[in-house]
Amino acid sequence: MFRKEMMDIRWRVLVFFVVFGFLLVGTIALRPFIGELLGASSKELAQLPDFLKNIVGDLTVLNRMEADDEFYLLSQWQGKNMGQFLPLCVLLLVFPLFSREEEKKTLYFLLARFSRQEIYWKKILASFSAVFALLFVFTIAAPASMNLAGYNVGFQYSFLILLQQVLASWFFFGFFVFLSVVFRDQIKPVLWGILFALALPMASLYPPLSWMNPYPYLLGTSVLQTGRIDGVYSMGMIVFGTALIVAASIIFEKKEF
């Protein structure tokens, strides 16, 4: 059944490999131009009045990005080009997992042959393996490609951000699986998934709920700032993600088809 699930998601995974491949090439190719641009910008921004400097934010980040190839890669690849697409990527891989089988009535084929637990966990395993493979390959590919392009970049921080991105993906994965199990068609999981991904940073604009925005964690901001993994947030991602996966398995076990 694992093979069948892989067959089901192979084209979507392939599309993500191609898209991420292009993005990675672009990120590395633009390094010299971005460096020059940031250098010029930081000099101009330094001459701004203080109140405008406050709006622009920390100028040392721009200086660091200009001077530090590794910081540039981490912030522009895992912290931007790849990182910001992860929730969308997880949503597109996960939303049809159960909802399409139910909508297209192919679930009967599986239900007649396997226990519900077997169906559920094999689907979870196959789809999360695909998410992990994408993350892992493109986390390694980025510093490796930078080194091949003649820059001197280490792997240590990439792996720390990878760990955070795997856990954040697990959290989003749990929520999207939950939607896929709950709804009987394919449209609602997509709409609710997008709404959820947008609602979290919106909710965090209200200061007491600022912790609800998972994007700084997902993009590795704390790793870039402190050089360490955010332990508390990591635990939160594991707990919420796992709770959603278990809740969805209970619903799937009891659902009528």
Partner: protein, 289 residues
Amino acid sequence: MGINLEEGLQFDHVKKTYRNGVQAVNGITLNIPKGCVHAFLGPNGAGKTTSLKAALGFISYEGTVRWDGKPIEENRKQVVFVPEEKRFYEHWTLSETLKICTKMDTRLNSEKMQAYFHFFELPTKKKIHSFSLGMKTALYLSLAFSTEAEYIVLDEPTSGLDPIKRDDVLEIIRQRVIEGKTVLYTSHIIPEVEKIADTFSILRHGLVVYNGNLDGLKEKFRVFTFSKEAWQKQKAPKDVIVTVNQNQVSVLTDSDDAISLWNKEKDCFCEVPTLESFFQLTIRGERHV
């Protein structure tokens, strides 16, 4: 001789009420012995598919269903199912179906499956979304017939098939029964059921209104046809099913008293019911008790 509850399929007071309040199955108790074809007959909404779904564990229900004395969860490997809606993984070709399904379901015999694909003349290179309904039915049947499962559950298994292939499928079903398999079957096509079913149940409003075999039915029941005027002169007898048409009244009964009384009556016509007439009268008629 008592019924062996460790063999065959037993429905024991099975009830199913959906959340919207619709009572689809209203207390079915049935014993289907091994090695036969048992058909569920009934109009739309009678509870045929719901009964099958309950038996297969697709829905929750009250009561119990046992396959050889075990719940479906413990006996799933001995059951294959062809659903009412024959939709399959539409982006697969038949060769992919063969590869993936034989890996997924170790009960499937690859050579048999190929032979059935060939028998049903299914194109191996085309994607399944281009298949007609009959071809999708043939695909599902090929999957069901390519295992050695003890129970073959078929929900409308000839939908979309041409008459030649339909006869061939009935022949294959009979062959599987000769090999000792048990077939549970639903259909709207009564001549088809008459052709292959050893026993059948007629369902109406979620209840089994008749359960038995065709010979027993022909032996026990008679249909008397009266003109409306002649029927009005009759005393209302007990335990008969009465159907009033435009000019005549048909009465189905297994009451010895009624049969001997009306056999002497000149104003009526007596016949042995066919499955078709029995089904029509049972579903359309009104029971007088």
